[in-house]
């Protein structure tokens, strides 16, 4: 260093500047590096989705699971149940035309509980006014991105069982 130049700032003064303006200043170079850091986070997030889904696949029902008797659910009524080995809530719906459906009771938007509305013959998510078709589970209106996951209902006399839906 020669006498005509100002002395260089020490490292500690660069890292912890006295002036607030200097401390809060983010250079474009730092911003670019931060963008790259977030990009790495996105890659890790996508890896987490893939690994979690591969190592811990969603619980599948083995065979048929007894739910209740047909007499317990009147026409237009519902019955909440869970299957052994899982804490996911399901609802069994006795539709107005006498048919049966079983859906997961968690909205596909933000997992709020959904309710069957027998007058409209639709399933409602009251959190964000999402509506599902009670016959198919498809989204009719609102923010839910996917249909409601469903189970197959099997009637054996007066007993109602549910099973994993058959894949085509």
């Amino acid at each position: 260093m020669n006498g005509s130049q100002l002395p260089e700032k020490p490292d500690y003064e660069v890292d912890f500047p006295i002036e607030r303006v200097e401390a809060e200043h983010v250079s474009r170079r730092e911003f670019a590096k931060f963008l790259c850091l977030v990009s790495g986070g996105m890659a890790v997030g996508t890896a987490w989705v893939a690994v979690k889904d591969t190592l811990f696949p969603p619980h599948r029902i083995e065979g048929e699971v007894f739910v209740c008797k047909t007499a317990n659910v009147p026409l237009g009524g519902t019955h909440a149940f869970t299957v052994p080995g899982s804490r996911t809530p399901f609802i069994l719906i006795h539709l107005n035309d006498g048919s049966w459906r079983a859906y997961e009771q968690k909205c596909t938007h933000l997992s709020c509980a959904v309710y069957y509305q027998p007058q409209a013959d639709k399933i409602e998510c009251p959190c964000h006014n999402g509506w599902f078709d009670a016959r198919t589970g498809n989204v009719l209106q609102g923010p839910p991105p996917r249909p409601l996951p469903h189970l197959e209902v099997v009637l054996k006399g007066d007993d109602i069982y549910v099973a994993e839906p058959k894949t085509v």
Binding site: C36, T46, A50
Partner: protein
């Protein structure tokens, strides 16, 4: 070392500026694509479709690698570049 770089810097003073802006724009574009990949793979995974998750991860990792490689082309701060030029000139002509 010739004074070619120094002359270039003087002739096009906004070059560093343009380069930095370009790198930041490309990084934002990469990030946008990665957000889309993450939401798409999460959505498909929750729907039970397993075909998307690994290709989405590979694409996201490639995008991240290209973004990280792009950081190499961030221009040096002008202050540091000037300092290096001065040091070089002093070394050649003490």
């Amino acid at each position: 070392m010739s004074s070619f770089r120094k002359a270039q810097r003087q002739a096009h003073p906004a070059k560093t500026n343009t380069l930095l802006l370009g790198v930041i724009c490309v990084l934002i574009l990469i990030l946008t694509m990665q957000i889309w990949l993450l939401t798409a793979s999460l959505n498909q995974s929750l729907e039970g479709d397993n075909a998307v998750k690994w290709p989405a991860f590979i694409a996201s990792a490639l995008l991240f690698s290209s973004g990280a490689a792009l950081l190499r082309y961030l221009p040096d701060p002008i202050r540091r570049a000037k300092k290096a030029t001065r040091a070089e000139m002093r070394r050649r002509d003490p």
